[in-house]
């Protein structure tokens, strides 16, 4: 069915179709509506889900962990300060290998206070053992959230599905939704690895471990993330087969014979596409590499793609405040380091706190990438 939906509406709609056993959530801008609309579905009897209205995001994630440990398909939604308050619990969900699925509307992190879109919240959670997807459009958010359920459960890893706050969460787009039945057929029934409430097979969840076992358990968790990429690729292929829309770990745009490309995530890819088209019309060989999966970090995939180009401009919508640029920049350069012939990598930070990223900005980045040089190590686009 073709519908007009904002990002939040589309994500809530996907959640209704997923029909999770439990949703425990505490609403926060800009993802408030996901929780609000889902709560309405619960009130209207449109889902079978148990909705737990908690008193904070820390409690939301704690309730999700308890629910997932009890063998329930579990979802929540948050953003920004909410994700920060969950931080401690994120690592516990990761370590327990609980396939919790969490759409977020990416937003800056205070201070100063700002409610608008950038990737600071999700990127600050990058070491918590959650997979992370970034979406370019509302359509992609809807499709990806449905995929995420299957990916999380197959990989036994929790997952964040991020759409840019306001830019996607609040903007209406024409999207093609699926009927409920094929969505439920696609995600299938959830078969948990274990269930805390199964008294016939008692287990202990969340043990204390000492020097003798902690590292071994972490090594086992790390292996889960190591094995996740082929699972993501398989689910994306199954999705394409069933629904006809295909997504990659990365999606290349006009990269054939390109000399310079821009690597970025999220809604700004749409702006960049336009700028690429304009430059291509001028005969300049430029392209775009859209990164959809940030965790697991797809180093091999990026290496195979980016080795073909002379210059790669990496654009971060968050700064790590480490005096060395954004996470995407540092991780991309490290992925390319052991190539014999490496492309030149330029670092850009853009759009913090929702600062507009215009077509002119995109064109400037492409021109500099095409020229293969710029002055500073890190360029802060549009900062006065």
């Amino acid at each position: 069915m073709i519908l007009a939906k904002t990002g939040n509406e589309a994500l809530a709609y996907a959640m209704r179709q997923i029909n999770p056993d439990v949703v425990a959530a505490y609403p926060i801008t800009p993802s408030t509506e996901i929780v609000q609309i889902f709560a309405q579905y619960v009130s209207d009897g449109k889902v079978d889900s148990e909705f737990v209205a908690v008193e904070s995001e820390h409690s939301a994630m704690a309730a999700c962990i308890g629910s997932a440990a009890s063998g329930c398909r579990t979802m929540t939604a948050t953003a920004s300060q909410g994700l920060m308050l969950m931080h401690e619990m994120l690592f516990i969900a990761g370590g327990l290998r609980l396939p919790i699925v969490m759409p977020i509307a990416s937003r800056s992190v205070s201070s100063p206070l700002n409610i608008h879109g950038d990737h600071s919240d999700s990127l600050a959670s990058r070491d918590s053992g959650w997979m992370q997807f970034f979406c370019e459009t509302v359509q992609e958010g809807y499709d990806t959230l449905i995929q995420c359920v299957k990916i999380a459960e197959r990989a036994s890893l929790p997952v964040i599905c991020a759409v840019d706050g306001f830019i996607l969460s609040h903007c209406m787009e024409r999207i093609e939704t699926f009927e409920d039945a094929p969505v439920r057929e696609f995600i299938g029934a959830y078969k948990p690895n274990w269930n805390l409430l199964d008294y016939k097979q008692p287990i202990l969840v969340g043990p204390a471990t000492m020097q003798d076992y902690f590292f071994e358990f972490k090594r086992s968790q790390i292996e889960g993330m190591n094995q996740a990429l082929p699972i993501i690729e398989a689910v994306q292929a199954e999705f394409k087969q069933k629904f006809g829309r295909g997504y990659g770990i990365i999606d290349e745009y006009r990269c054939e014979d390109a000399e310079a490309v821009v690597l970025l995530m999220g809604s700004a890819c749409g702006t960049m596409r336009d700028a690429v088209d304009t430059m291509r019309n001028q005969g300049k060989k430029v392209g775009m590499v859209k990164l959809r999966v940030f965790r697991p970090w797809p180093a091999q995939v990026l290496k195979e793609s980016l080795r073909k180009f002379k210059t790669v401009a990496v654009m971060d919508r968050a700064d790590t405040v480490n005096a060395w640029g954004g996470a995407l920049f540092t991780e991309t350069t490290s992925a390319l380091y052991d190539l014999d012939a490496r492309p030149k990598v330029l670092s850009y930070v853009y759009g913090l706190g929702g600062k507009e990223f215009s077509l002119a900005d995109a064109a400037t980045v492409l021109e500099q990438a095409y020229a293969g040089r710029k002055e500073d190590l890190v360029t802060y686009i549009g900062v006065r």
Binding site: G95, L96, R97, L98, S156, N193, W194, Q201, P202, I203, L204, V205, G206, P207, T209, D212, Y213, F215, E216, F217, R219, S220, Q221, E223, G224
Partner: protein, 96 residues
Amino acid sequence: MAKLKSWKELPCGAIIDDPKAVLDNKTGAWRSQRPCWSAEKCIHCLNCWIFCPDAAIMVKDGKMTGINYDYCKGCGICANVCPTKVQAITMEEERK
């Protein structure tokens, strides 16, 4: 001591599939306060057994029989939930 397992042998999600393994970790040494139980005063309401966050209250045939000091960490919840008039459990300083 049993041979330590490699990471490949561990269950996904750090669960312990043999919950009885916790019996090997005697946690009573953490105690700074010790619950003292009076068999004479006890009315066997089993509030202590219900509320003990470990499993340190020993019960046989529906009757409280004592406290397992191998695992009791001295939290004092049992003394707190023991009915006010009864006071069959009182907390005393642990002597090393």
